[in-house]
Structures are given as C-alpha cells and as structure tokens.
C-alpha cells in the first residue's frame, strides 16, 4: 500500500465517521464535531492531491495548499458561527439539541415584531 492509498483510506474513514456522527447524534455540539471530522477528511484528500503533485517531481503543488488554507479558515468561521448559535440556544432553552418542531409552534403566543 502506497502512502497515497493509505491516507486516502484515512480520509474516507474520517468522512464516514463524520457522516455517521452527524446523523445519529442529537446534541448539536456533537453534530458540529462530526461536521469538523468530515471537514478533516475532505482536507486530507486535498493534501493528498498536493502531495501527488510532489510525486511528479514538481516539488509540491502549491495550489491545493492555498485552497486548503482557505477552506480551513472557512470551516473555522462556520464552526464559530455554529458555536455562537448553540450557546445562544442553550441560554434560551437550557438545552443544546434539536427538538422536533414545525418552527412556528409557539409563535402564536410569542410577541413577534414584523
């Protein structure tokens, strides 16, 4: 097994674990961690592609590395936004998981400004 194949399998395992976690966990924080796991798998794929450029005697392909940095920053921003929303939800309801609701169940009584 070459290192490319090995890391490719690792990436597949990460994405698979992440998808599983995203589906089965009800807690939002765990869902967020699962999303990050998927993200790491995808980033690993990108790193393998950059490394493959190096295997061709190019001294490493810089483009995927630039993409990777950008993608990590974007995923970080996404996680920060999600954590902020989860914290606010916890302050409001005292729980941090998604309940089954049609979204407007309570707004009949809630004073809503439109």
């Amino acid at each position: 097994m070459t290192s490319t194949t090995f890391f490719g399998l690792c990436a597949a395992a990460l994405v698979g674990l992440g998808c599983y976690g995203l589906i089965v966990n009800a807690q939002l924080l765990r869902k967020l961690l699962a999303f990050n796991l998927i993200g790491h798998g995808v980033f690993l794929v990108c790193a393998i592609i950059a490394h493959r450029g190096a295997a061709d005697g190019l001294g490493g392909d810089p483009v995927p590395q630039a993409l990777l940095i950008t993608a990590i920053v974007v995923a970080f921003a996404a996680s920060a936004l999600a954590v902020a929303l989860i914290l606010r939800l916890f302050e409001e309801t005292g729980s941090a998981s998604l309940t089954r609701s049609d979204g407007l169940a309570k707004s009949d009584t809630a004073e809503q400004e439109h």
């Binding site: 995808v42 592609i49 483009v63 936004l81 407007l104 707004s107 439109h114």
Partner: protein, 503 residues
C-alpha cells in the same frame, strides 16, 4: 489560453466590492448610520447593475475581469454572461424594494443610539447582496465555494434575527444542512482539481472527460448544492427557517438566497459538466423537482399559517427551477435551440424572486395588522389592507402562471420546450402544480375578502409606503411577461449552450 479584461470589467469588481465596503463601513459607523450606508450602497449597486447590463447588451459579449492581470489557470477571472447579468439585475431590484419596506421595521428607534436588530439586518442585507453577486460573476469553482459560504454565513443569522428559541433552532438546522452541503461541494472541487489540474470553469469544460471521477465529482457537488437550495427531499430545513424569520428577512431568504445555490447548479451542469452528464441524470434532477412541485404544493394547502404556507410554496417553486435541465438537454438532442428552456428557467427564477418577496412582505403586513397569520382567520384584511391583498393576489397569479405575469411566460417557455422535445410528463406536472397553487392562493384571497366583525379594529396601522412598495413589487412581477418583447439577454456570452450537442 489568455482571456484579457474586457471593457466594463471594473464594474464586475465594483458589484462585489461595493456591498463589502458597505458592510465594513456600516459596522464602523454603526447605529442609525448603518441604515443610511446600506441604502446608499444598494442604490449605487442598482446603478452598477444597470450599467453592467447596458455594457453587456452594447458589446453582445461576456464581460471579463482578470484579477491582478494573472490570467487563468494561475489567476482568477470574474466573468459575467447573460444569465449572470439577469440575476444581478434581479437581485439589485428586489433588494432595493425589500430595503424600502424594511425601513418601516428596522429603523433604529428614537432615543436609542444603537439597536442590535436593525444594525445586523442592514449589514446582513448588504452581505447577502455582495455574496450573491460574487456567486453570479465567479469564473472558477473555488471562488464559487467561498461565495456560497459567505452567502450561508450572511443568511443564517437573518433567520434568527429575533433570537427566539425556535428561530435559533431553525437557523442551526439550516446551518447544519448548509455545512454538510458545502463539504460535499468542496470534496467535488478537490477531485476535479486532482484530475484536471484547474479550477477555471472554461478550462475545466475543455479538459473534463466522461469518466467515473468526473461523475463522482458532479454527484457530490450537485448533492451539496441541492441541500443548500432545498430541493425536495432536502427541503426540511426551509419552512421553519423562512417562516420564522421577520418578514423582510424571509423575503430575502426565500426570494434570493436559495437562488444562489441553484444558479451554481445551472453553472455546473450547463458550463462545466455539459459534456459528461447523462440525460438520465437530468431526468432524475427534474423528477426531484416534480416531486417538490407536487408535495410542496399539497403540503402548502394544509398549512394553518400564512407564512408557513408561503414557505412551502417556495419548496414547490424551487421544483420548477429544476425542470429546465432535461428540457434544455431534450431540445439539444432534437437539434433545436436549447436557449428557450434556459431562458424559461431564468425567467422562472426572477419572477419567483419578485413574486415571493412581495408575498412574504404582504404576509408581514397582514401579521402586523391582525396580530396573527392564521389562514382560517383572515377576515377583514381586504378592508384594512386593500393594496396589500391585491399585491398578494398578483404575486400569487405570477406563481400560478396567469398571463401576462412573468410566471406565465416562464412556464410557457418551459411547456413549449417540453412539448418540442416530446417530454409530455413534465407538462402534466407543471399543469398540476399550477392548479394546486391556484387552490391555495384563492383560499387565502377569498378568506381575506370576508368582512370582519363590526367592532373589529386593526391592531396596528401599517404605513402607506410599505403597502405601496409591496404592491409595486407585485406589479413588477405580474408585468414581467413583457420581457417577451425584449431581446433575450440570457444568450449573451453563452456559446457554451451548444456544447451539449457538440460532444
């Protein structure tokens, strides 16, 4: 391959950069100045969109701007062709209407230096405009990814602007769908780069081969985008998110934001994957659209609340947007001009944007007047808000597809494309969808026309200009059918439409 910057290229940069500058400036000055900055920026944005349209129609070619003079594949190019320009113009117009409406709900109250809700609303509105424009003019798939993420990050907080628990849940559910979608899209990009060594749309279209890897990338990217655009069966996040947001925010989300990811599907399938996707996969995409039309409309009929009804109607209308794929392919296969189907799809997107924005804003006014939005209990609206009810009916007429509305002309183009390419089953779906839509529009209008109880008084008086702006937008949507007499802008700079038959 070098594509030099064309005349008017700087306008492309401005159309993206100006809203971003507006966001930063609004954040710095804060308070009630944020609103003024936003209004000025949106006005300038409208002027730029008009200038860009003029440039495109004058030259008859796509406008290109090569960033920093580095041409692809090393550099990044911005490119606006016919379909981008109509979307930029539509977004600029609809956002301008929504902004005037929102002045009534998101003004900073007197005596307060800064309130969170108004400042955030105006900044997010600018951010959505800027990121949508970036989606429309990006020339490479990775910039598109960044644009799409910016759009999501601007749209999610709009959902939970109220800060109530159920809107926070809706926002989080939306965010999770969107994040999973963006990861799938990103994986597709990496696979494409790994195989073909470029991210530029034009170069990718030349290099791509019909092989397993390209199909996998197409499937991953499309699935991710469908989650973001809420095509059935990935629509579950949409109704609570769109119905729970404040009316002006719902209008932005429902009319414009979902079109960003849809536009990307159009870009990918017609420009990048044109040579490699099989007709069967186009049929699958449209079958999901058909399911969205039927199920979305039936569920909309059962809703007890006006805003949820309109949100489910959005789920259904998204379905129409995906019918154009097999129709365009079918026309191509029959050696006919596929531009009619593409124009129909684009027009459907624009007429839905105008009509749905007007309907959500009308629902907002009805909510304020009645203090609720229960569909069964809309008596007296016709008397209290005549202009708003007319606006709702006109928007509904456009969704149903009554002449001379934009929806009519769009469905006419799609129907004739379906008949010309002998795909009668899509005709049946479109007609059934129109009938179901008319059922719930009439249900709402008839109930709103019933006289109120004698001692009933509106809870709040709605400013006249808000009613006027909703009506104006609805009239725009209703009269959009006149574009039948305009030159077909969507063809400009799109020789790529014939790529399907060339391969």
């Amino acid at each position: 391959m070098t594509t030099p910057t064309t005349g008017g290229g700087l306008l492309l940069v401005l159309t993206v950069l100006l809203p971003v500058v507006g966001v930063l400036l609004g954040l710095v000055v804060g308070g009630r100045h944020a609103q003024r900055v936003a209004l000025v920026t949106l006005l300038l944005g409208l002027a730029i969109a008009v200038a860009l349209t003029g440039q495109l129609m004058h030259s008859g070619e796509a406008v290109v701007y090569v960033l920093g003079g580095w041409s692809p594949p090393l550099g990044v190019a911005l490119r606006a062709d016919g379909i981008s320009i109509v979307m930029i113009l539509a977004v600029a117009v609809v956002v301008a209407f929504i902004a005037i409406y929102a002045c009534g709900n998101f003004g900073t109250p007197a005596g307060v230096r800064e309130a969170r809700r108004p400042v955030m609303f105006w900044l997010l509105l600018l951010a959505i405009t800027g990121s949508l424009n970036l989606v429309f003019v990006s020339g490479d798939v990775f910039t598109l990814y960044v644009a799409l993420e910016l759009l999501t990050f601007a749209a999610v907080p709009l959902v939970s602007l109220d800060g109530r628990a159920e809107t926070l849940q809706a926002a989080l559910r939306y965010l999770l769908y969107a994040l999973l979608g963006s990861m799938l899209y990103l994986l597709g990009i990496f696979l494409l780069y790994g195989a073909y060594g470029t991210l530029d749309i034009a170069l990718l279209a030349q290099r791509i081969q019909p092989e397993t890897l390209a199909w996998a990338a197409a499937a991953l990217m499309t699935a991710g985008l469908l989650a973001k655009t809420a095509l059935f069966p990935l629509h579950l996040w949409l109704p609570p998110a769109h119905a729970g947001a404040p009316a002006a925010a719902s209008a932005v989300l429902s009319a414009l934001v979902i079109k960003g990811a849809w536009f990307l599907v159009v870009r990918l399938w017609f420009d990048v994957f044109a040579g490699v996707v099989a007709p069967r996969s186009m049929q699958l995409l449209a079958a999901m659209g058909a399911a969205a039309i039927l199920i979305g409309n039936v569920v909309a009929l059962q809703q007890a609340r006006l805003k949820l009804l309109i949100a489910y109607s959005t789920v259904a209308q998204i379905g129409y947007l995906f019918l154009m794929f097999p129709l365009a392919a079918g026309l191509n296969a029959a050696q006919l001009d596929s531009a009619a189907a593409v124009s129909g799809g684009m027009l459907q997107a624009i007429s839905h944007a105008t009509a749905k924005a007007a309907m959500f804003m009308a629902a907002g006014l009805i909510y304020v007047t009645l203090g609720h939005d229960r569909v069964a209990d809309l008596r007296g609206v016709g008397r209290a808000l005549p202009m708003t009810l007319v606006a709702f009916a006109l928007g509904g007429a456009s969704l149903i597809g009554l002449p001379p509305s934009g929806g009519f002309f769009a469905k006419w183009l799609l129907l004739s494309a379906a008949l010309a390419s002998m795909q009668w089953w899509w005709v049946a779906v479109m007609i059934a969808g129109g009938l179901l839509t008319s059922a719930y529009v009439f249900m709402v209008v008839v109930r709103a026309l019933q006289p109120a109880e004698p001692d009933w008084k509106p809870r709040t008086r709605v400013p006249r200009y808000q009613q006027g702006v909703v009506l104006a937008l609805a009239v725009c949507s209703f009269l959009l059918g006149v574009v039948a007499w305009c030159p077909d802008v969507t063809r400009i700079g799109r020789p790529g439409l014939s790529v399907v038959e060339a391969r």
